[in-house]
Amino acid sequence: MKFGVISFPGSCDDTDALSACGRVGEAVALWHADHDLAGVDAVVVPGGFSYGDYLRAGAIARFAPIMTEVIEFAHAGGYVMGICNGFQVCCEAGLLPGALLSNLSRRFVFRQVRLRVLGEPSPFTAAIEPGAELSIPVKHTTGRYFAPPEMLARLHAAGQVVLRYAPGENPNGSLDDIAGVVNEARNVFGLMPHPEHAVDQLTGSTDGLSLFASLAAAAAA
């Protein structure tokens, strides 16, 4: 099973994501300017500050040449996971519903947060007990999840909210403590927390591994 991790100019957590993916599968780097997904089974759009987060986080990156392929890949049912800046890019690209707004604090926040995995089925959380709590860091300035009321209601009804900040842990003012959502077809997943920074006890926690492992299993199936 092969992951591809995109690097945009300004991506920062791309190498971290590559090595996290490498723990559960094969992982290759993909370059923003290419029109080639190198035959991967799952795409990770990583964290960082693509194009400096200028104008609006993710707004410029979503037009990168490789995104044409990613969008096509996703429409064909391919698995895509957008982490932090990658989540923002996926929202801007229309692959995921909603948008990410400036944190209520208006500041960058790094914090190890507790997350709840909801019972809604998804290939990204399949290996995790529903209701389980994960300890994973967040680090962002623009992480407040927003969707207009009707859209939000639809997301809840369709079980598209798969990850929430545990009570009292919401670091940014996200609506309904939403930390991660999937698209309607459930093959694209976006989350603000950084599971790639929770794959080794030495650097803090291994709770993020299960997300990569779930995805690897789904993509291999």
Partner: protein, 739 residues
């Protein structure tokens, strides 16, 4: 007629910061010819304090600059030490004080940008940033403004470029009110054989400028500004502020590292203060060659820039490299890949001259030596002050003996110099690059993992420190203490010092008392480095840090890098397990004079600090380090600001566990609880492990045990009993600043 007679020339030179005598030397070094505008601008910047180190160079030569593990010493953009496995760690700390006083967000951001470039200029990938900040009293509106924006600026740059900010320190003291300090340190990792120097060589080789285009940023900025005091009329000196672009720097960094990875460069140099002028002259000087620069080939951001502006512009995010002509195409291709503009702007010559051209026209022609080496160096005229230099801090607390010691402890925990820094450092990303084993708040030093070597998981530890108030009280001992404190911080995570960097932030060195502070401090620094067995690999000097009320506290900021064999065993501050014993280790001889408590109580600075028994402090550090490395301790924390009681409270809070501690024989409880001095550690673990620390002359005293959810300390007559919740609330005092 001697050109020096030209009044206009002298006047202009003086306006640009040169003295009349220096101007005479410039003329002499040009063979009696007066410099034209372009040349004068270049001389005035290179001969400024900031670039020439004319008041500090002689002193800096007294610092130990060789060591077993040193692989790149002072003189390069950053120094480096060997960390085994064919790897070296390059590091340096630098100030950006004056630009930050003008515009704190951009000043701090570009300060980080500048120090990052120094690190990748030697070929190392930046793997960590640390910051060292000094502001006035916390209740000043200006302090809050500076704090908020400086912290945001540091985060903005470091976070966006993907380099973790893993540590730092901040103090709030009156003497910094009008002259804040913003120092940033960067640490980089490089294969030793890939370290690159900045010496230009090979006449006929090309000079390639890459990165951002050149605008009027900081014309007469850093260099001139940093050589003059800020005060009233501050406004007029404001230069065009430099704006940091971390996105451009990220691409520049990846581009530079790939160029080096592919061995495409002869030499590499960042553009910092004095821009192209300094970069080109330094590269030529180090390689004993000449350079021609054609200003017409420099890509500009603004129209109508004059040649001198192009030569001294401090536009950020630019690098200069020397390239063999047949590698040019490959170099440009790498730059293109990273969306980084690159232009050939000149070439290396055998002339020994820096020549500035505009196409065919020669605009300036100066011997490299004149620019770089002919600037006079000044001996300082130190004189120890007879009167106290600093007024007593404002009293905010009754620190007399009859105050409840519990209340005193809470006041200390609440003090901005001790309170939890979380509200600041949570604005920084400490984990990107996946090396960070100990984040801020977890341990006394940051710990980063190096690539595994077989089963071994070696790492490095980094600490940054410099308590200006104690240096003000006693420049020699205060500086020794600062170095020892960094070494103690490393010991607590199990690391041994490898190399040291420093930034000397002082007032006007032409004043005898400031000169005395500087001399004494550097003497302390040199002695302490020899004692802990490390070289000074490089650093920075920032002088003329004064406001209307006088100089800042003399503030040598010390950055220390060490190694540890196994990061999995890196120490932590926090108590770990109920029932563990707590011991006080080391030759801890606390004094109230010069302490944080004395500051809160509004007491004058003492006229000296107690002598430190360095050998015994080192023995204690060794004992703690070895025990941490063996995994026998549950926690280790050095005693610093706020003394023993504060250290115990910090261990409780970091571990979420209470403690019961007693010192029955204490006669002077206030001093025992809150006094400060070097060499004390609070450690916890099993009784056997703690007793085992007591070898080779190291004092170990078991004083209590980890237990419950309250901190209880009995010291002679005095008794503290506080719930963790109350400690936590007090310790969280800085949170209110960021709501």
């Amino acid at each position: 007629m001697s050109a020096v007679d030209s009044l206009a020339g002298v006047e202009q030179a003086v306006a640009l910061g040169l003295t009349q005598d220096e101007y005479g030397l410039v003329v002499a070094s040009l063979g009696g010819r007066e410099p034209n505008d372009v040349e004068l601008a270049m001389f005035s910047l290179l001969w400024s304090e900031h670039c020439s180190y004319k008041h500090s160079k002689i002193l800096l030569r007294t610092l130990p600059s060789s060591g077993e593990r040193l692989v790149l010493g002072p003189g390069e953009n950053a120094g480096a030490v060997d960390v085994g496995g064919g790897l070296a760690v390059a590091f340096k700390v630098e100030s950006h004080n004056h630009p930050s006083a003008v515009e704190p967000f951009q000043g701090a951001a570009t300060g980080v940008g500048g120090i990052l470039r120094d690190i990748f200029a030697v070929g190392a990938r930046p793997i960590a940033v640390l910051d060292s900040l000094r502001f006035g009293e916390i209740d000043s509106e200006r302090t809050r403004y500076l704090l908020e924006h400086a912290v945001a600026g540091i985060g903005h740059y470091g976070n966006s470029i993907g380099v973790p900010t893993v540590g730092g320190e901040v103090y709030f003291e009156g003497p910094y009110e009008q002259n804040c300090l913003i120092n940033a340190m960067c640490v980089g990792l490089v294969e030793t054989e890939r370290l690159i120097r900045s010496a230009a060589s090979g006449p006929g080789n090309l000079l390639v400028l890459f990165g951002a285009s050149t605008g009027r940023d900081g014309i007469g900025g850093a260099s001139v500004l940093a050589s003059a005091e800020l005060g009233e009329g501050d406004e007029a000196k404001r230069p065009s502020v430099q704006i940091g672009d971390p996105f451009a720097e990220k691409k520049l960094m990846e581009c530079s590292l790939e160029l080096l990875e592919r061995a495409l460069l002869v030499a590499l140099q960042d553009l910092g203060a004095a821009g192209l002028t300094s970069a080109a002259a330094e590269m030529a000087s180090k390689g004993s060659v000449g350079v021609d620069i054609d200003v017409a080939r420099v890509p500009l951001r603004e129209e109508g820039m004059e040649p001198f502006e192009i030569m001294v512009s401090e536009s950020q995010e630019r690098m200069l490299c020397v390239v063999e002509p047949d590698r040019l195409e490959a170099v440009l291709a790498v730059c293109e890949h990273w969306e980084t503009a690159a232009s050939v702007i000149g070439e290396v010559t055998a002339s020994g001259l820096v020549r500035v051209l505009d196409g065919e026209r020669v605009l300036g022609e100066m011997p490299v030596e004149a620019l770089v080496d002919a600037c006079p160096l000044y001996d300082l005229q130190p004189r120890a002050p007879q009167e106290p230099l600093y007024s007593a801090p404002r009293r905010v607390l009754d620190s007399s003996d009859d105050v409840d010691p519990g209340e005193t402890l809470l006041a200390l925990l609440r003090s901005p110099n001790i309170a939890d820094r979380l509200p600041l450092f949570e604005q920084y990303d400490p984990v990107v690059q996946s090396r960070t084993v100990r984040r801020p708040g977890q341990a006394d030093a940051a710990v980063l993992a190096l690539p595994a070597r077989g089963e071994a998981r070696p790492g490095i530890a980094i600490a940054i420190d410099g308590n200006g108030r104690r240096v003000a009280a006693d420049p020699y001992r205060g500086t020794v203490e600062a170095v020892l404190e960094c070494a103690s911080n490393l010991a607590c995570v199990g690391a041994e010092p490898l190399g040291l960097t420093n930034c000397l932030n002082f007032g006007n060195p032409e004043k005898p008392h400031v000169a005395w502070q500087l001399c004494e401090s550097v003497r302390g620094l040199a002695d302490a480095c020899r004692a802990i067995g490390v070289a000074v690999v490089g650093g920075n000097v920032s002088l003329y840090n004064e406001g209307a009320d006088g100089p800042i506290y003399p503030t040598p900021v010390i950055g220390l890098v060490g190694e540890l064999p196994d990061v999995a065993l890196a120490g932590r501050i926090g108590f770990r397990a109920e029932g563990d014993r707590i011991a006080l280790v080391g030759p801890f001889a606390p004094e109230i004079a010069g302490s944080e408590l004395a500051r809160l109580g509004g007491r004058e600075l003492p006229s000296s600090l107690a002598d430190v028994d360095i050998a015994r402090v080192l023995a204690a550090q060794r004992a703690v380090r070895d025990a941490v490395r063996s995994g026998s301790l549950a926690s280790a924390h050095d005693i610093a600001e706020g003394g023993l009681a504060t250290a115990l409270a910090e261990c409780c809070l970091a571990g979420g566990l209470g403690a019961e501690v007693a010192f029955d024989d204490t006669v002077k409880p206030l001093r025992a609880l809150f006094g400060e001095g070097s060499g004390g550690f609070v450690v916890s673990g099993g009784e056997g492990a703690l007793r085992a620390l007591g070898g080779a002359g190291v004092a170990v005293r078991i004083v209590g045990l980890v237990s419950g959810t309250r901190l209880t300390i009995v010291a002679g007559e005095a008794r503290i009993e506080l719930a963790l919740e109350r400690l936590r609330e007090a310790h969280g005092a800085l949170r209110a600043l960021f709501d």
